[in-house]
Symmetry: C2
DNA sequence: GCTTGTGAAACGTTTCACAGCA
DNA sequence: TGCTGTGAAACGTTTCACAAGC
């Protein structure tokens, strides 16, 4: 059974607050899980400012969401806050990290050390977030053996070592930064080697078995969306201007 | 009125409880607009293979969607296909481009020529998609004056020229690749200078006036989502294994 | 006062099912 | 037969409104 995308199967991630009801599984909306990352980012900013607690309204205002939305989202995962007081910033950071699985460190590898790939190897934004890039690969002989990224850096290895490294280092995730025509074949190899998730920067839809998760980042697509929304707003303005 | 995110505004952000006005008819779901970009990408791949027509089922299968979804999405924008035959590939490419607004070329500028910024300046994926990066900025004196990207390349300019360039070149979009603490201030300057849309790579939520569109790409967030989905699948497997 | 957590209602999106057409 | 376009049903998500607690 093959599919694309990243659906969460029905399961019960939260310890049920009502022990009397065993059957009904509360499904967590996928958008709510996405917002969890937003909450985490904002909470870490608050902690830097030494805020001890935060209300759903504060958090919502900072992120452009309603207070009700924030409360609902958090409630999917249990009881977080205290009425009259709000949410404890540090406790909530710990709990969201635990939910997302980033309270431990995930080992990732990078495939394709082109411009984007090397930029990601130098990116500091992963540090302290629960991710570590443990290996990088390319098929360009001129790049193999060179060391890239924040010191001490990572050595670029030849692609034929891919399977070996995935197994030896028990790598769970891959960041795929290769040209579009090469992406599917490399995704197949990564899956066969035992990778559990792929973040794909190539502008193609990957076909991947159900037991592997895929996320995709397509820059051109993001600019297209921006263009559409700008046009839509301009059309609306013109319509209001005209009548 | 300020907000975050990229919603296409209805007549009113907070609609009045009186439904007396018929208001906006045939509202297009935002997810459908996102999929339009996917269709476009797939259609261009099909055209390269000299496919003349494609059915909603073919397109859906290639993208992991149902045929009904593909038809509904396209129908929001008018009559595209022919019963019994399918959709004309070239005609549909032209129509989707026209809908997204990428049948013309958008002028974008890039702010922040760090690792990610310079990688984007070298990225070929924008070419022929309706976007052109016409200027790049950084505050690092060592970078100013250097030329980056695919030949002939783009010269890195000092940040204090930002407003001048936006006006003189009538730039509509900005790609923001600066460190998180600098992002909001630069977004404010871009908005004040007349920019209509921002694609933000900094891991902060920008506060932006309603008439400007924002899209955000947060790499750490994407890896977090991947981690969550991998964990969820593993939990499900374990539960099924155990009983 | 202020806050959370939560059923229920409102709203948005996807899937279904089939009429109509080539 | 094979396909599109589309109302209507099914499903998913957000907002509302308020009881309960600090």
């Amino acid at each position: 059974m093959y599919s694309q995308g990243m659906h969460v199967p029905d399961s019960d991630p939260k310890p049920s607050p009502e022990p009397s009801r065993p059957a009904r599984e509360s499904h967590v909306p996928i958008p709510a899980v996405r917002r969890l990352s937003l909450y985490l980012r904002e909470l870490e900013a608050l902690r830097k400012k030494d805020s001890k607690t935060v209300s759903s309204r504060q958090l919502g205002t900072a992120l452009g969401l309603t207070d009700a939305q924030v409360r609902k989202d958090l409630a999917y995962f249990g009881q977080f806050g205290r009425p009259g007081k709000g949410y404890d910033v540090s406790e909530m950071i710990a709990r969201i990290r635990s939910i997302l699985g980033t309270d431990r460190t995930w080992r990732a590898l990078l495939v394709g050390a082109g411009h984007l790939g090397t930029a990601l190897l130098s990116y500091r934004g992963f540090f302290g977030k629960g991710f570590e890039i443990v290996a990088a690969f390319d098929n360009n002989p001129a790049k193999i053996g060179t060391v890239v990224g924040v010191p001490p850096g990572i050595e670029i290895r030849p692609l034929d070592r891919l399977e070996e490294v995935v197994r030896d280092l028990r790598v769970q995730m891959a960041i795929l930064c290769v040209p579009a025509p090469a992406a599917q074949e490399l995704a197949d190899r990564l899956v066969a080697a035992g990778i559990k998730g792929i973040l794909n920067f190539a502008p193609v839809t990957l076909t991947i078995p159900d037991h592997v998760s895929v996320g995709s980042v397509d820059l051109a697509q993001r600019l297209e969306q921006l263009a559409f929304h700008i046009s839509a707003k301009q059309l609306l303005d013109d319509a209001q201007q005209g009548g």
